[in-house]
């Protein structure tokens, strides 16, 4: 995936609030498209690109709910709507988003609906992007009578922090549909990506559900378990192939096991490469992942490699295998290196006493 040359054709923004406040706060739904100057357009594009381009944390979604009036049905048709319909339907979606915001920790903010075109792997495609932008606070510098004043503001959106935005991107990868309104589009016509920093950690996993599941009617793409397995295999093979000592390989392998076992819910091969591989191997690892089609972030699903994560093993050429829990292997076992005196022997050290011989 290589998304470039994003161009924006129409934009509208509405207020979104918590579901419980819908009746009291009367969120504002706009009636007109926003005309943005070049700087604002470029900023908007930069913010979107920052979270969806190669190596970012965005992941693929699969549509679950295609019922008329639900998000996918509306969004997929928005591409062909005239401006008035685009506005009405975006208002409808904004209300649906507010309705989905039931959890107490969700903040109010803006829902921005964008239509445009982009190049995805060299093909020009239409897209709809929906941004939920949380308000941020800050101080604004203002010059008054030649004095610098600072003014409190609490409704900045789309600042530098990606923690304050969620993005759903619907890219139309197949345009061969009968034009006409309110057609039911095939879910395969779209490639759907979502970015939500809350998805990166399973302790927050449920917190992100309201956006991609309740609101968008989607679920994490089905291929996550096979991708996770592939990532495990590619990384393991890569570790074995690099020119470094066995102790280093064992350590790298340990990092792989912890990365797959920890609380994070997204696998980002670039992040793994930078965090664990030595500098001169980082790009080669990433290239290997690119060639195998798993360089982009995807949702972690260890279903198919549970056994590997439970037990780690080291096999010697003499047919002796050491099997242990990953954690134990790293805390209570170490390879010292080849034995200087006896050729073909390796010195290892194990913490603990012999408890049992079978």
């Amino acid at each position: 995936m290589s998304i470039i040359n994003m161009r924006i054709q129409r934009v509208i923004a509405h207020e979104v609030v918590r579901a419980s406040e819908l009746n009291t706060l009367n969120p504002i739904y706009s009636n007109i498209l926003i005309s943005l100057d070049n700087k604002s357009l470029n900023l908007l594009i930069d913010r979107i690109m920052a979270v969806i381009s190669q190596g970012s944390h965005c992941v693929d979604l699969t549509v679950e709910d295609t019922a008329p009036g639900r998000s996918f049905n509306i969004i997929s048709n928005m591409l062909d709507f005239n401006d008035a319909e685009f506005i009405t339907n975006s208002r409808n979606l904004a209300a649906q988003l507010s309705n989905a915001q039931t959890s107490g920790s969700i903040k109010s903010g803006s829902a921005i609906f964008i239509q445009g075109t982009l190049y995805d792997d060299g093909t020009e495609s239409r897209f709809i992007a929906i941004i939920k932008a949380d308000y941020d606070r800050g101080l604004m510098e203002r010059i008054e009578n030649n004095e610098v004043m600072l003014e409190y503001i609490n409704n900045i959106i789309l600042g530098d922090s990606t923690r304050l935005m969620k993005l759903a991107l619907f890219i139309e990868i197949n345009r061969n549909h009968t034009t006409g309104q309110n057609q039911v589009r095939n879910t395969d016509d779209f490639s759907i990506k979502v970015f939500d920093h809350l998805m990166q950690n399973s302790t927050n996993g449920n917190a992100s559900l309201y956006f991609y599941s309740t609101f968008l009617g989607c679920r994490i793409a089905d291929n996550s378990s096979s991708k996770t397995k592939k990532f495990y295999e590619i990384t393991r093979n890569f570790i074995n192939s690099i020119n470094t000592g066995n102790e280093d390989k064992l350590e790298l392998y340990g990092h792989l096991i912890s990365y797959l076992s920890d609380n994070s819910t997204i696998i980002n091969p670039r992040e793994f490469s930078i965090d664990y591989f030595p500098e001169d191997q980082q790009d080669s690892f990433l290239r290997e992942c690119e060639e195998q089609g798993i360089a982009e972030s995807f949702s972690k699903n260890t279903q198919l490699i549970k056994g590997k994560l439970r037990r780690e093993s080291i096999r010697f050429t003499s047919n002796i295998t050491i099997i242990a829990l990953p954690e134990e292997l790293h805390n209570s076992f170490c390879i010292i290196g080849p034995d200087d005196e006896n050729e073909g022997w390796v010195k290892v050290r194990i913490r603990g006493e012999i408890e049992n011989i079978k």
Binding site: I4, Q54, Y119, Q282
Partner: protein
Amino acid sequence: MENIKELELSKAYNERRGMLKEFGEFVKKEICNALDQKYFLKNACDKLLQIPPLVRVKETDSFIEKALYRKKNYNDPLLDITDQVGVRFVTLLLEDVRNIGKIIENMVEFKCEKCRDFEQEKLNNPDHFTYQSDHYVIRLKNKININGNIVDDSVSCEVQIRTILQHAYAEMSHMSDYKPAIPLEEDKSKNIKRLLAKGSALVEITDDAFGEIQKMLIDCYNHIDNLLQESAKIYKSFIGEEANNNTKLGIKIADAYRDLLKDVNKEKLQYWLENNRFFIEVIKNKRKESMLYKDSIIIILGWLAFHYKIKVPKLWPEDSAYLEDFYITIGISTQGLAF
């Protein structure tokens, strides 16, 4: 009788000295001009030579001593002694010694004779370590008038070419061995000879090492230079517009990624671009607004960013905002990278 001969020869030689100086200057100037052309440099001599070439006319006493006291039996010393005027070219590298020699051999207005060829002398006496320098005796093919002095092919000028290390040896040797002014005891004299031979051997080793260094630098530079030329051709053929090439920016960027570019060639760049044709569109769109996209280095940078996403920002030699913009433009996230 002998005294009268010496006096006459002295007088005749003194009368020649002005003409010899003019001829020496002429030879020097012609060689320097030829060097400028060969190296495409203005004042190549100033840049190439370690010591400015000086025209030296033999002192009268020295001439008489050579003509009459060394039992060399010259028929006509004024014609036969070839180093009455000389000019010396001292270079850093052996390769330049060879180049200057070739330039002299190819100069149409001169007849030249290589009367000392140190490469040949090494072949003839492989176990000797001694004076090394190329000497040419140069004469005009046709008579000319140089500032009122008529010079014909009877007048010669000796041109010496050597490296600065060979020159250091020659100076040392001159003081002690070549023309001994003070007679030394035999054992001391032998010891000095031995020390000089050691020095000469070391000079030869060092000159060879310097040559190797130069070759490595040239190989490296040539590769980058070729790659920049090739990227300009690729730019032209894919984008359909001329690229800025060999710019300061381009060279600076290529230089920063020298190591990563070691195995990159024209074919790899082309193959990559053919498989990432969207990049052509990016260049076409951005070339109007940004210098970077008008420069042929953009092709190389594109290749680098695709193959070394993580490393490229670490080595970027310019303001990181430009590279960050480039990454975003071609759809590579900057998250977690060293910007």
